[in-house]
């Protein structure tokens, strides 16, 4: 009675895990921060967020159809939604709708599917889109606004919001600089950091998010909570986040100690910009980061160092996206040099020597 097909090696047990579950957990971790930020920036942010996520899913579907790949499994693994979500969180909340759509084309079409779809892309799709948009449309992409919480007196109504997002009617009075941008601009005007820092939101505001910036740049506390949740669920490990934040904090602190007039301090670096979102959600993207723990630590530190360097010396106030893309390109090489030591072998792959006979 031979009734069973013998067509595969063991194991005949599998953890109850799937790509879909993994991606869904990441989305879950993003919900608190996103919900709070959407509340802070009101209807325009909600519209832009919807458009961006929707465009990414649509772009994924179109690309899959063009490539002739099976639609269902790939479309419902939430990876496109996650890309769209992260992209939306890196856009100015009141940016026009086409930034989301164009971003989706860059992220899903250009960065992901030209390389072969999920798992094949070299660069983080959301960051490719953000950088492409930032370089192409610098004015639109830096038009930050102060929070206008939903239901508050100055909050735009749904009708206003449609005008802002789809009509391009950006009210003039509301724009504001992000903390990083402000300090950078002031510095370029010759105003030392100590002085300009007096005018940026204090650390508490930065942590809570009641300040100008993209969705993901505000509410550091909720982003941190989401990141810790991911760690608890073992979706990510501490290596990349700690590497990013540690490097950023150390560089900031060190250089601030040397010249406080020129360099902002470590804590400010941690709490401002997209540090937390980058450290927990962007740099940790599986596909574009190294696979070994050692490699992840190297990658994280690299992202942190580059972010600090770009923030401090380059033309852009925020460097996270550039840093991530630069480090993405190093991932294969990091992987190659950070392989774990095999059991019973030296790092070079030679069998371990037998212990010397005791004499």
């Amino acid at each position: 009675m031979t009734f069973l097909a013998i067509n595969q090696s063991g194991p005949f047990a599998h953890q109850a895990s799937s790509v879909q579950k993994t991606m869904f957990t990441v989305l879950l971790a993003l919900i608190p921060a996103t919900a709070f930020d959407l509340y802070l920036f009101g209807w325009p942010a909600i519209l832009l967020f919807t458009v961006t996520v929707g465009s990414c899913v649509a772009a994924e579907a179109i690309c899959l159809a063009l490539a002739g790949q099976p639609m269902k499994a790939a479309l419902f693994d939430y990876s496109a939604a996650l890309t769209g979500w992260l992209l939306a969180m890196s856009l100015p909340p009141w940016a026009p709708w086409w930034t989301g759509v164009l971003g989706a084309v860059f992220a899903i079409g250009l960065a992901k599917h030209t390389f072969g779809g999920i798992g094949q892309n070299m660069f983080n799709p959301a960051m490719v889109a953000r950088v492409a948009l930032l370089v192409s449309f610098p004015v639109v992409m830096t038009a930050w606004v102060m929070p206008h919480p939903l239901f508050s007196a100055h909050a735009p109504s749904l009708a206003d919001a449609i005008g802002i997002t789809f009509g391009g009617h950006m009210p003039d009075a509301v724009s504001a600089a992000s903390a990083l941008g402000y300090v950078k601009t002031e510095l370029s005007r010759g105003i030392p950091v100590m002085q300009s820092m007096a005018h940026v939101p204090d650390l508490m505001d930065l942590a809570l998010g009641t300040r100008a910036g993209s969705l993901g740049e505000t509410s550091a506390v909720l982003i941190l909570a989401g990141g810790l949740f991911l760690m608890a669920r073992r979706i990510i490990s501490w290596h990349i986040p700690l590497g990013v934040m540690g490097a950023l904090f150390l560089m900031g602190t060190l250089f601030h100690a040397i010249d406080p007039a020129r360099y902002t301090d470590g804590l400010f670096h941690l709490m401002s910009g997209a540090t937390f979102l980058g450290a927990f959600f962007i740099c940790t993207d599986y596909v574009t980061s190294p696979v070994s723990r050692k490699g992840q630590l190297v990658f994280g530190v690299g992202c942190g160092l580059l972010t600090w360097t770009i923030r401090t010396y380059a033309g852009y106030p925020e460097g996270m996206a550039f840093a991530v893309l630069l480090m993405n390109s190093l991932t294969p090489i990091i992987d190659q040099y950070t392989r774990p030591r095999a059991f019973g072998r030296t790092l070079k792959g030679e069998p371990l020597p037998l212990a010397k006979e005791k004499t």
């Binding site: 090696s9 047990a13 059991f343 019973g344």
Partner: protein, 493 residues
């Protein structure tokens, strides 16, 4: 006792509660026993009986077929019905020579060899010979002839006999039950083995999820200061030989070496019990405890079955199937081999028979790798499964070998954890097979080349010899002619 960490590992659902409280029951004698000649690593045994012969229980019916081999004994008394080919309990389902024994139900023992008096002071060689003659093989699953492993003391300087009672595979509880119910026999067997090996120290490693077994063994070992029972962390694959040695001793077995080279020999607890019976009572290995479990089995159980009972007999004894099994497995779900059907016999290395439902296996179609790195983090061998699989997909075995695919122990942790459900172990087994085949091919070509070169040399030498002989002859002839000439000259006219 100080323990040492091992790298990686996973925590699968153990599902041992299905059988852990089921005491070992003896299988009623089936109507026929099928005893394959190859139940072990090494050369198959050689048949000693003929069709129609009457045999007694414990009588040797096939003798050891080489230096690394093991004899087979009649598991009960009866008549040799046939010596024929039937499917082996191997994924291939290929036929192998099998002795079919029809029991006479008397279950009469043959005249067994005398027990070894005072084995702890006996000549170690005597014990090794008894173990070899009793057909004992490693009962943890690998089925390597135990006598060969007991001989390691003559080659290496050994310090520890490590008795493996980790039983880290999910579902399996046969070792757990043996340790709980026959602790004294296991301890006695361990002492005899330690004596045969010449090691001063015995460590019995048991995963902490078997507290009763740890208790029973600790109690049984309390009279012997040289024996230590160690509870080891529940961490699959703790029961892997090299990893257990590392956890207990902190020593890492170098690649391409044996644990014996670093002073530790590992034997399974059930093997120790078999040694006890062979040495103390002269009884050969004719039965073993098998865990029959899995969601498709109506009443999972631990069964002491004679070697050669069909898997179908054990399943029937457990009340048959409650659901259609998705897969039958020989051994545990992680490293076990799929069984080709129910008609194959129980063999000495078969620790479990699992009839698993689709829900238990949770196999999904593989999707693209998302490079999550989980396989790298959990690999107990420190390999990079994601990278190896990528090269094997392209049939690039050279790079896969350089990345260490041959160091993989096929523990299955990477396949188990992969969120994309990529059958990584399947890839690695494929690569190992291909690399071995290429290696064989290369050796064959080398051999042919060496022979061909030797032949050319021989031919050339023969030609040279011939030429030399010819030249010598010519020279001789010339010399003779010259001498004649000279003689002629010298002759006065």
């Amino acid at each position: 006792m100080k323990l040492f960490p091992i790298r990686g590992g996973i925590h699968p659902d153990y599902r041992k509660e299905q059988t852990s409280e089921k005491a070992i029951v003896v299988l009623p004698l089936p109507s026929a026993l099928y005893i394959p000649l190859q139940q072990h690593i090494g050369a198959p045994a050689e048949v000693l009986v003929n069709e129609g012969d009457l045999v007694k229980k414990g009588q040797m019916i096939a003798c050891s077929g080489g230096a690394v081999s093991a004899p087979q004994h009649a598991p009960t008394s009866g008549r040799i019905q046939a010596i024929t080919e039937i499917p082996a309990p191997h994924p291939s389902g290929l036929a192998q020579t099998t002795i079919i024994l029809e029991p006479d139900v008397k279950d009469e023992w043959t005249d067994l060899p005398e027990p070894i008096a005072d084995p702890l002071n006996a000549n170690p060689q005597l014990i090794r010979e008894r173990v070899a003659a009793s057909g004992i093989v490693g009962m943890g699953g690998a089925a390597f002839p135990s006598a060969v492993k007991l001989d390691l003391g003559t080659r290496c300087k050994l310090e520890i006999l490590l008795l493996n009672g980790a039983e880290c595979e999910p579902y399996l509880t046969c070792d757990d039950r043996v340790m709980r119910e026959h602790a004294d026999e296991v301890i006695d067997g361990a002492r005899i083995m330690a004596h045969a090996l010449g090691v001063p120290r015995v460590v019995i490693a048991i995963e902490n999820n078997k507290p009763q077994a740890i208790d029973a063994m600790t109690r049984a070992a309390s009279a012997f200061p040289e024996i230590e029972v160690a509870g080891v962390p529940v961490q699959y694959p703790m029961g892997s030989e090299r990893h257990l040695v590392q956890a207990i001793s902190g020593r890492e077995t170098p690649a391409k070496k044996l644990t014996a080279d670093i002073g530790v020999v590992v034997h399974n607890v059930a093997t120790a019990r078999a040694v006890h019976q062979a040495v103390r009572f002269g009884r050969p290995l004719v039965a073993r405890v098998v865990t029959v479990s899995g969601g498709a089995v109506r009443e999972p159980n631990n069964i002491e079955a004679p070697v050669g009972a069909r898997v179908a007999d054990l399943i029937a004894f457990c009340g048959g199937f409650a659901a259609i099994p998705e897969r039958l497995v020989n051994g545990g779900p992680m490293m076990g081999q799929p069984l080709p059907g129910l008609d194959v016999p129980v063999v000495k290395g078969m620790s479990g028979i699992l009839a698993l439902t689709a829900a238990e296996i949770n196999q999904q179609p593989a999707s693209a790798c998302i490079r999550c790195g989980n396989c790298v983090t959990i690999c107990p061998c420190g390999l990079v499964p994601v990278e190896m699989a990528a090269f094997i997909r392209k049939d690039n075995f050279e790079v896969a070998a350089r990345l260490g695919v041959m160091d993989c122990v096929s523990c299955g942790s990477c396949s188990w954890i992969c969120p994309s459900h990529i059958p990584l172990v399947h890839y690695f087994n494929y690569a190992k097979g291909m690399i071995n085949a290429q290696e064989r091919e290369r050796r064959k070509i080398d051999q042919t080349r060496i022979l061909a070169e030797a032949h050319t040399l021989r031919v050339e030498k023969a030609a040279a010899d011939k030429a030399a002989a010819l030249a010598a002859k010519k020279a001789q002839a010339a010399a003779a002619a010259a001498a004649k000439e000279k003689e002629k000259d010298e002759t006065p006219a």
